[in-house]
């Protein structure tokens, strides 16, 4: 009994210590953020506060995939009719969902939150712009956009990730135009040169963040032919703008599906990056794709070519055509 009470006392003594040190850390962190905000207010550009390796490792140690799958299972449970309206109304209120645009506005129609999350929109509410060659593939917020320089892409201003890590080795070209130009490891920009197939062209990127209340299907951003899919199993950390400003290479850690092919001006790719609450990615024309599986080996990826002997073109997609969706869990 003595030993037990000693052990209990030790645990009780440690708790205030943990609480104090944790509180001290959070307090110091908040003070630094306050200082940054004050400096920004007087016009001094403050570099984003990036997480160090320990913080990233700590965050990655959270079982986000397990949580995501559990969240998905929960949202496949069919809700009793009387519970649907209150549950979905809370979600609508919390995330600012605009139900007037939904193809089916009657909340009772959706058997569970997963179905509600996959709701479609009335076709008329999203006219596809004809006068521009590239349109937004989804509803969301523009995190960053611009020209790609030195093979580094910005996830948000000032926080970059490596293009080669994000897309993986440039071997899909074998599928598209039967050429394999090995990228020169010690010259990162050579990878970027491999992607640009036409003289005088540049590489551009655009990052669209979909918030939980946004319409979560995505469409083809231009007229192009999809030749190849590369699926990277990975973490499912949150990708909200605050985290994107804090964790460098965030999009290279997370589960993602890279679709690559060609449009009128050469190379074109669309990458869907999963997140904690939306761990599953569906591509309507790719029945083989399985994302957020229980087991995967770190750093692995699997390739799939849409070209075959009798289809050297790949999958043709028209601008605005339904391409895929993010699912809960």
């Amino acid at each position: 009994f003595n030993a037990a009470s000693l052990g209990l006392q030790a645990r009780i003594k440690i708790f205030p210590l943990l609480f104090a040190s944790g509180g001290g850390y959070v307090g110091y962190d908040q003070y630094c953020r306050y200082k940054d905000r004050e400096l920004t207010k007087i016009g001094i550009e403050v570099p984003p506060r990036i997480a160090n390796a320990t913080q990233v490792a700590l965050y990655k140690s959270i079982p986000t995939r397990l949580l995501s799958r559990a969240w998905g299972r929960l949202n496949q449970v069919e809700l009793p009719t009387w519970l649907r309206k209150p549950v979905y109304s809370l979600y609508i209120w919390t995330f600012g969902v605009n139900m007037q645009e939904a193809a089916v506005e009657d909340l009772i129609h959706y058997r569970n939150l997963g179905e509600f999350f996959r709701r479609k929109l009335k076709p008329a509410v999203r006219p596809v712009c004809d006068s521009h060659c590239v349109i937004s593939p989804a509803d969301g917020k523009i995190l960053h956009f611009g020209r790609v320089r030195n093979c580094e892409v910005e996830q948000v201003k000032g926080v970059t990730y490596s293009l080669e890590t994000f897309l993986g080795p440039h071997t899909w070209a074998e599928a598209i135009n039967n050429t394999v130009k090995p990228s020169n490891k010690d010259d990162p920009s050579s990878f970027q040169d491999l992607l640009v197939t036409k003289e005088g062209n540049e590489l551009f990127h655009c990052v669209v963040y979909l918030a939980p209340g946004d319409y979560h299907c995505f469409h083809s951003p231009t007229d192009w032919r999809v030749a190849h899919r590369r699926h990277f199993p990975g973490s499912l950390m949150s990708v909200n703008p605050g985290v994107a400003r804090w964790i460098k290479e965030l999009f290279c850690h997370n589960e993602r599906v890279v679709l690559s092919g060609e449009w009128a001006h050469g190379f074109f790719s669309l990458t869907a990056v999963g997140a904690t609450n939306v761990g599953s990615i569906r591509i309507y024309f790719d029945k083989e794709l399985r994302t957020n599986a229980p087991r995967y080996s770190k750093g692995s990826y699997n390739d799939f070519s849409y070209l075959s002997n009798n289809n050297q073109e790949g999958v043709s997609m028209r601008k605005g055509e339904h391409l895929g969706e993010f699912n809960l869990g």
Binding site: I142, F145, V153, K198, W263, L270
Partner: protein
């Protein structure tokens, strides 16, 4: 979730966007 577009285009391709702006499916991102 996030969607990242990466593509090659002629040098005079321009985005008509502002970082942080809301955008909806079907709206223009940019053009030559």
């Amino acid at each position: 979730s996030t969607i990242v577009l990466l593509f090659e285009a002629p040098r005079d391709f321009t985005f008509n966007l502002k970082a942080g702006q809301k955008i909806r499916f079907g709206e223009p991102l940019g053009t030559m």
